[in-house]
């Protein structure tokens, strides 16, 4: 978050500042945290939900019961961390940068499924992994922050 004292100095030229190497490397670090928490959270949650079994319900009690499963609980806590780091990332980067770049989580989930859970990876899946990796590389080549609409409030 921008300190109040530095607010006037940093907000209007945030687009300029976002081109600096420090800003970019912090954005990349946050991206790595977002991807890691996403992968760990989803793998735990999906493993846990398979253990819990069929859950379609309008009653919150059924979801609370699902949370008693340690895998579901661990997955949910990790996904809460994912939510916070994703919001922090969105404060410094475009949505259309964040979405493709964090899609690398799919690649890691597939690879984790292969090495941890012993899932077989077909050639179509390998192709999918390559295609998503290409998407990540393409998005990484664009500047992380371009949005002009949202800084009006700050630049006043």
């Amino acid at each position: 978050m921008v300190d109040q004292s530095r607010r006037s100095a940093t907000t209007a030229p945030l687009l300029e500042q976002s081109k600096s190497p420090t800003f970019t490397s912090k954005t990349h670090l946050l991206t790595a945290i977002v991807v890691l928490t996403n992968v760990v959270g989803n793998v735990c949650l999906s493993h846990g939900m398979q253990e819990v079994g069929r859950t379609i319900s309008a009653s919150p009690a059924d979801y609370v019961r699902a949370l008693l499963n340690p895998w579901v609980l661990a997955g949910s806590c990790t996904l809460a961390l994912w939510m916070i780091s994703d919001l922090a990332l969105l404060s410094r980067a475009d949505l259309t940068f964040v979405l493709p770049v964090t899609a690398s989580a799919y690649v890691f989930i597939a690879i984790a499924g292969h090495f941890v859970l012993g899932d077989r990876i077909s050639w179509e899946r390998w192709l999918g992994i390559v295609v998503i990796t290409l998407a990540v590389v393409l998005a990484e080549e664009t500047p992380s922050l371009t949005s002009k609409a949202e800084y009006r409030e700050h630049s006043q």
Binding site: L30, I56, Y63, A66, I84, D94, L95, L99
Partner: protein, 120 residues
């Protein structure tokens, strides 16, 4: 039932991501990952109706995903909801005024194709 859940997941993810992006840009760039700035971030989120609304939308999507995962495999659930990438890219260009050129269009298109391929 499966596809109703997919529709709920895709639309709540789209609304949630757009609200969160707009809201977080108004809050300002998170500068570091210290505990202090984390607490500041949580306070700022608590005071932002946009981000709270975005989180609420994502929470609806989250419970819908949990339900979907209990009746379908991950390999059905994840690709089925991937279509929202293209819609989100379009809305980010026109509503959030992001500079979406061919690289970003190609990236979101490739993500959708890649995620569908991962279904096999």
């Amino acid at each position: 039932m499966k596809w109703i859940l997919v529709a709920i997941i895709a639309s709540s993810n789209t609304v949630g991501d757009l609200l969160n992006t707009a809201g977080m840009k108004r809050i300002g760039a998170v500068e570091d990952l210290s505990l202090r700035s984390l607490l500041q971030l949580l306070l700022a989120i608590g005071g932002s109706p946009m981000v709270l609304g975005g989180i609420a939308a994502l929470a609806i999507g989250f419970f819908a995903i949990m339900s979907l995962l209990s009746i379908a495999t991950v390999s059905f659930a994840i690709p089925a909801t991937a279509s929202s990438y293209l819609v989100e890219t379009l809305l980010a260009k026109y509503i959030l005024k992001e500079d979406v050129r061919w690289r970003r269009w190609a990236a979101s298109g490739l993500v959708v194709i890649g995620v569908v391929l991962l279904r096999w």
